[in-house]
Amino acid sequence: MAYLSMGEAHRRITEYLNRFSDAVSFQDGASLKQLLSVSSNSPSLLSLADSLNVFQDANRLIKQSEKYSQFGEIIAPFFRCMQSYRTGNLLDAYHAFEKAANAFLPEFRNWESAWALEALYVVAYEIRILAERADRELAFNGKSPEKLKGAGSFLMKVFGVLAGKGPKRVGALYVTCQLFKIYFKLGTVNLCRSVIRSIETARIFDFEEFPKRDKVTYMYYTGRLEVFNENFPAADHKLSYALMHCHPHNEANIRMILKYLIPVKLSIGILPKDWLLEKYGLVEYNNVIQALKRGDLRLLREALQEHEDRFLRSGVFLVLEKLELQVYQRLLKKIYIIQKQRDPSKAHQMKLEVIVKALKWLEIDMDLDEVECIVAILIYKNLVKGYFAHKSKVVVLSKQDPFPKLNSKPVNS
């Protein structure tokens, strides 16, 4: 780092102070937000941090003038945050930023219009990011990471400030999404419910008024929650909304949405085209889809095993596993088609041992009892129309549409 003189440091700090107070005086949200983006690593903030570390007595500067000192409660801790951030001390940086944020919030509340909303977004974003990094530092040192939880509490306060009748309320969805990110990261997904309730049932909020970007993010997270709960129609609706309204150039986000949408669609009987998987690099689903098309149980099981870790981590494993029944259905349908070709009059009766044999060809070793059980389950869930005659060990298929399509409805549970 080039040598920074005391004089120069003094000058840069004062420059920051001026910019801050001007931004507030002129209600310049765009400028204010840049002055608070710690993790953006912008050259001006980095040089501010260096200056602070050289000058060491910024508080005196703040007190010099009323136009700075009125924001002292925000700026002083913010300065400490920048100093700690610059020296890699992320826990202290978080603590200082939390103080600054807590001082910022009441000021924000007092400002009349929503001019500072973008700056508030930055504060909300930064507190989450800094908390994550502080937690990493804590965990690295063998201590328990609890800063992200604290950031969550702060954001709830922010939500409270925004939940009013004025123009600031359009910021509530952004804060909600930050909370979602925190809860998903912490694994405390059940906490999302109360936030969702606040957003969806409060009369002051009109979903359509919120910025598009926030709506997409919101639908993505709530869609994922529906996947966890296996509400496939709802998941389909939400994730599809997110997909449709997501900016087409934002490939990373589209990929994230598809990662969850594809298993959902598969569960309601809709298969994606091959090029979609290729374009967005979701090749882990290739074999799953092949297995569904072919009724190849062995291939499905192999695919699940191969990518087990990935599927478990993203939480779609159980959804994909449930596709087994559809694979069985496809297999039985193929047997039926072959039988129909050979002897149409007898096609609607399928002997159990034939199914056992077909599975043996797929190197799946299941005995009569087990196959009988699977057939019973298929009939029970309406994947096969007909009944099973135990004595003769024959599946008697309905003459009409014995293998009903799912038609965008999930398999009965």
Binding site: G315, E321, E370, A376, I379
Partner: protein, 484 residues
């Protein structure tokens, strides 16, 4: 199971039970923050005896002896009285009780002894030279601490007053108190590092007395004795409640002495297995969480066995897919190859898909105690199976087939032939209890009428649900059987 004395409350002097349930397991001592500088005044000791009656009861009254011991160890976070002139009186109880108790070292463990005998032998403060020496060395240890001169001098004075149990007791408790004048500490709040002493008690069999303040070393058993105690419990023919009580006592002695090694693991594993067999899930969960910590510290034990139990618990108890998925994702490659874990994973797959044939096959051939956990799901699985069969089979299914695939015909040699017909009978009873429509066919074989049953099946309310699943262990039963 709290073993506050089971004396009818009326005979005890009034005292308040220790209130709070701690969210943390009480077997995890919390670190003490720092010593308080002010010397502890003797009057603080009084807190422990708050609530005592004013008159010294007769020395030989055993029930008061019980009360004494309960008093000492049940310390709620009560306010300190500023002074209490009753201590002298209490000391005398001790004297009386102790003398009576000393001979009980080898208690006859075949009878449910009066609690008195247990308590007195466990807490006997031997009036021996060794004990005096130990006390002195303890007081020397604490001399090094700051600002405690005052108490130590006081104690020495007291000790010099000699011969009477009152002062000895006072000094023992004094020293073992944490240097904080609130005086009302529970097991977790005490600075165990400073107080960890080697126990000297030689009792292999010892009832569980929940501690809320520092224990007397002569009431704590050293590791060698605890090993024997564990063995005793493992070989004992007595019922679950007895073993549970003994094990809790062993666990407490281990915690108090900060012993965290293979013995500790064995104790928790033993207790966990017993709870599983008895169907006592809360106790099992307590042990399981301790085991998790111990295994994580690298202490050897049957970690695969318990990983399987853990998985089964999640599968069979929570409806939460997230918990299930995260448990599964936390399994290491190595553990997935373990037989017990593989079995648990197979059960998981069977439950998720509703594959009853697979479920009951796994039930039949379960490693370790996996079947005990599966027990908790058997009813549900059978109901799911029969509902499914009622919708898919026409016109009927022989009940003998259902009995076979739904695990009613359990035989020891592994084949599922119902040689004595008892499985069929049990299955028929089950069917009837669940509203199934049955009919005999021409050959005299009983069939399930599937179409009719599909609308008549139901899940009945469980009757006489007993926590342990074993009616012999019903609480009322226990209370009436324990004598004083």
């Amino acid at each position: 199971m709290d073993s506050q004395c089971s004396t009818p409350v009326s005979s005890l002097p009034r005292y308040k039970r220790s209130p709070s349930r701690r969210s943390k397991s009480r077997w995890e001592p919390l670190p003490e923050e720092k010593s308080v500088d002010k010397p502890v005044s003797i009057s603080n000791d009084v807190v422990k005896y708050d609530g005592w009656e004013k008159k010294p009861p007769s020395l030989n009254s055993e029930s008061k002896w019980n009360a004494l011991n309960n008093m000492k160890f049940s310390l709620p976070e009560k306010k300190l009285p500023s002074k209490n002139t009753q201590r002298p009186a209490k000391r005398q109880h001790l004297a009386g009780g102790l003398n009576a108790a000393n001979n009980d070292a080898s208690s006859d463990s075949d009878k449910e002894q009066s609690l008195t005998a247990y308590y007195s032998s466990a807490i006997s403060i031997a009036n021996t030279p060794e004990e005096k020496k130990r006390r002195e060395s303890r007081s020397k240890r604490f001399e090094k601490g700051q600002g405690h001169r005052a108490e130590i001098n006081y104690l020495k004075q007291k000790n010099a007053g000699a011969g009477n149990l009152y002062s000895r007791r006072a000094s023992a408790l004094m020293i073992s108190k944490s240097f904080d004048d609130s005086g009302s500490k529970a097991v977790e709040d005490i600075d165990w590092d400073a107080l960890t002493v080697k126990g000297t008690c030689q009792e292999i069999e010892k009832r569980y007395l929940r501690l809320t303040s520092a224990p007397d070393p002569s009431s704590v058993r050293p590791e060698e004795v605890l090993e024997k105690a564990l063995l005793m419990v493992q070989n004992s023919q007595k019922n679950y409640l007895y073993k549970c009580d003994q094990l809790k006592s062993i666990r407490q002695d281990l915690t108090v002495q900060r012993i965290q090694n293979q013995l500790t693991v064995k104790v928790y594993e033993t207790h966990a297995r017993l709870s599983l067999e008895a169907g006592d899930l809360p106790e099992y969960n307590q042990c399981q969480s301790q085991l998790k910590t111990l295994y994580a510290e690298g202490i050897e034990g049957c970690d695969m066995e318990f990983a399987a139990y853990n998985l089964l618990c999640v599968i069979l108890h929570s409806n939460n897919n997230r918990d299930l998925v995260s448990s599964m994702s936390r399994l290491t490659e190595g553990s997935k190859k373990d037989k017990a874990v593989k079995h648990a994973l197979a059960v998981r797959a069977a439950v998720t898909s509703g594959n009853y044939v697979m479920f009951f096959r796994l039930y039949e051939d379960a490693p370790n105690l996996n079947s005990c956990l599966m027990d908790l799901y058997v009813e549900k699985m059978r109901y799911r199976a029969v509902s499914c069969m009622s919708r898919s089979y026409r016109p009927t299914i022989p009940v003998s087939y259902i009995a076979r695939v739904l695990g009613f015909c359990r035989t020891s040699d592994g084949n599922d032939e119902d040689s004595d017909g008892s499985g069929l009978v049990e299955c028929l009873e089950w069917m009837k209890a669940h509203g199934a429509c049955l009919a005999s066919d021409d050959g005299g074989e009983i069939q399930l009428d599937t179409k009719a049953s599909s609308s008549s099946l139901y899940m009945p309310e469980p009757e006489d649900a007993v926590a342990h699943g074993d009616a012999n262990l019903a609480v009322n039963d226990f209370l009436t059987r324990t004598s004083l």
